[in-house]
């Protein structure tokens, strides 16, 4: 699995989101992702992560061993920098 493929899947599931994905072992199964989406507004962390997992569907069960997630609203992302 490629980081690029994961990025595309998340973007498809969460239209308009800013997504960055990094393969942090280089082995194609441990990834790190930053997802910034308007749709996270008013949602807790569990729901936000579930939305990202939902976009990844079966890939999350089979091909991705680990995905470290950072999830933010555009506001949180702005204030962070």
């Amino acid at each position: 699995m490629e980081a690029q493929e994961i990025k595309a899947m998340i973007e498809r599931g969460l239209p308009g989101a800013h997504v960055e994905v990094r393969d942090f072992t280089g082995g194609g199964d441990h990834f790190e992702a930053l997802v910034v989406s308007e749709s996270f507004e008013g949602k807790g962390l569990v729901e936000r992560h579930q939305a990202v997992y939902g976009a990844l569907g079966d890939a999350m069960k089979a091909r991705i061993h680990a995905l470290t997630l950072k999830v933010m609203t555009p506001n949180q992302y702005q204030n962070r920098r």
């Binding site: 569990v46 992560h49 579930q50 997992y53 999350m60 069960k61 680990a66 997630l69 950072k70």
Partner: protein, 110 residues
Amino acid sequence: MADAIERIRTTIASDRIVIFMKGNRNFPQCGFSAATIEVFEELGAPYTTVDVLADQEVRDAVKSYSNWPTIPQVFINGKFVGGCDIVREMHSSGELQTLVKAALSESAHQ
């Protein structure tokens, strides 16, 4: 599966903090499980662990119970709180300490 879900319900109802993990507290078998129990060790909070590697049925059932595809999974007061990322984030924001303190003081009153 129904039986495994029932066992999960019983476990998370009987103990305040329950962590479904790979391995056990002395020998975590995955870095994410290790990092998660590390947080609770640091808080000095008592927790129960369930080794999903020892029980494939529970491993599958807990994922469908919480609608969460990965292990570890943390339950406090019977409620799903999150996995490794969320627990660590809540720990650094201080939210976890508040939740744990409330959960433990409730049990002290019983």
